[in-house]
Amino acid sequence: MYRYDEFDQALVEQRVSEFRDQVRRRLAGELTEDEFKILRLMNGVYLQLHAYMLRAAIPYGTLSSDQMRGLARVAQRYDRGYGHFTTRQNIQFNWIKLEEMPDTLADLASVGLHAMQTSGNCVRNITTDQWAGVAADEFEDPRIWAEILRQHSTLHPEFSFLPRKFKVAISAAAHDRAAVKVHDIGLRMVRDGAGEVGFEVIVGGGLGRTPFIGKTIKPFLHKRDFLSYIEAILRVYNQHGRRDNIYKARIKILVHELGAEKFAAEVENEWRAIKNGALALDPAVIAAVAARFSYPNYERLSDNPSALARARSEDRAFAAWFDSAVSNHRQPGYAIVTLSLKPIGGPPGDATAAQMDAIADLADRFSFGEIRVGHEQNLVLPHVAQRDLVELWQQLQMHELATPNVGLVSDIIACPGLDYCSLANARSIPVAQELTRRFRDPALARSIGRLHINISGCINACGHHHIGHIGILGVEKNGEEFYQITLGGRADEDAKLGTLLGPAVRYGEIADVIEDVVEAYVALRQRPEELFVDTVKRLGVEPFKERVYAAR
């Protein structure tokens, strides 16, 4: 866990009282909506179709059990008893009254949470691997770097009015679980020839209207240069980013228009001037931030205790859950457990207050009081002793948190879509719900294998449709909901944008079409182990197109 200092707490509390006054003045008519809107957005408050929405940050996806209880309290007290975990390791509450927003933020502040920089043209919540600090394939904990950057960028005057929002993700493992290549800046911790750990710096990735996979502009950045180099990137962007056209304002457009090489040269130029100045990181500063992260006092245990081995071979339901939800931990005898927030027929990423409370209790009992939020909209208990897995599974089942579908076809990422969002063209959630019903049979889902379906309700791509193995994008045609389908996208270290399958299909047809796509894959794959994305990579979308559209 990370322990915030008094400075952070004072800052958050000060922001709440400032916002309380701003809300009071707005409600009294002393501020117009135009004046107020920018203030509420700076505090994570949006207006959706039927209510205000509050987006609170969960820095690098790490929550304590007390913070989770705080979220449950907010859901219960001010909302309709649930919250929605997003693809950016945030939580959104959909029904909070503006009148109660200051109290809500005060409640969040009491557990060290806030909504700063969850909106606006600033450096947003910095995301990382949800397995940070526990993954077996990790070089070192990426959250230390996320925290150094968080401290540096929070309310940084130079970076509070960037041309557009700015998203940074950091991953420190061989396998990228943080989708770093589709962020404004993606940082991958890597080891150079001499064994030193540093960063590969990737810029200009992003989804939305004009999607791009980021380009590497520095293959290896030393740790001491972490802040100065990022500052140089932000300065170049601040100076040259387009403020005249909102659709061209993201850094990806600048990198694309200048070309990665020229952009890198500009950064290099800027960097030279500041590289050896105040931003050069002293190892003592890094160590001080690292020291604020505490790790559990693990017991000395061995892997695969006999009771676990027995349960896996004797109880098929447990084995199915284990295979989908349990991952290797770097500490022997421990495991990383993913809690599926994708129940069959449920809205992806939602958790009720009762579930949040239950998860907090289970985290206390089984995971040293710690919880993680992943960009796939699931939660994680990061430190579970393997001997406790059967008992944990039984408890999770009671709270509908043990659907054995993590990483499988019904583990769908979906944005709020037209059911909540005022920018939407089409609904996302009901499409996801119907698809989970179509693929509800766990044996079927397992036989299909790893397959990520991502759904967005409009071109803004909050549901990351471009990088879903199957991407679904809601569009509007003559006032009716239609959906475009892309195949072959992926979010990992081999990130790739999906390819359009064919003409958009109606709301009533989309689930049938996706079933046909999956059937086509099963028929086309060379062997059962060939993943959906690999079949698409090998064959392209044509054979899928033929099969899917031939029938229509």
């Binding site: 707005r26 409600l27 008519g29 117009t32 909506e33 207006l47 959706q48 179709l49 039927h50 209510a51 205000y52 309709r80 008893g81 649930y82 009254k97 503006l98 009148e99 449920g346 809205p347 939602d350 958790a351 009720t352 207050a353 009762a354 037209l418 059911d419 909540y420 005022s422 920018l423 939407a424 063209n425 089409a426 609904r427 959630i429 009901p430 719900q433 509007e476 006032g479 009716e480 909901e481």
Partner: protein, 104 residues
């Protein structure tokens, strides 16, 4: 389905109302003939599209009680019932199209 921004661009024919979100809680409200706001669509002022501009202008002048007023289509059903004119407006009136979590 169509954002208010696009609804403004698109020509709306037929019957319309002026709608917005209530300032204090964000609830969906409709402009009444006597220049109030109501959550009850049946109590809204339903006007022919050309006459909506005046209704909207008065709603816009009232910036304190409601936020972001715009013109939205409605359908008139038998018995003088007023129904939202598209899916987006139906969702605004009735809420999400699925059971909310925790509600059984």
């Amino acid at each position: 389905m169509t954002s208010p921004h696009e609804q403004k661009k698109r020509k709306i024919n037929g019957s319309v109302v002026v709608t917005a979100n209530r300032l204090g809680d964000g609830a969906v409200v409709y402009r009444t003939a006597d220049d109030h706001w109501t959550t009850d669509l049946a109590a809204a002022a339903v006007v022919a599209a050309p006459a909506a501009a005046a209704l909207l202008a008065r709603a816009e002048a009232d910036g304190v009680r409601a936020v972001g007023p715009y013109i939205a289509p409605v359908e008139l059903a038998p018995g003088d019932r007023v129904l939202p004119g598209n899916l987006r407006e139906r969702i605004r009136l009735d809420g999400p199209t699925f059971a909310l979590p925790g509600v059984v």
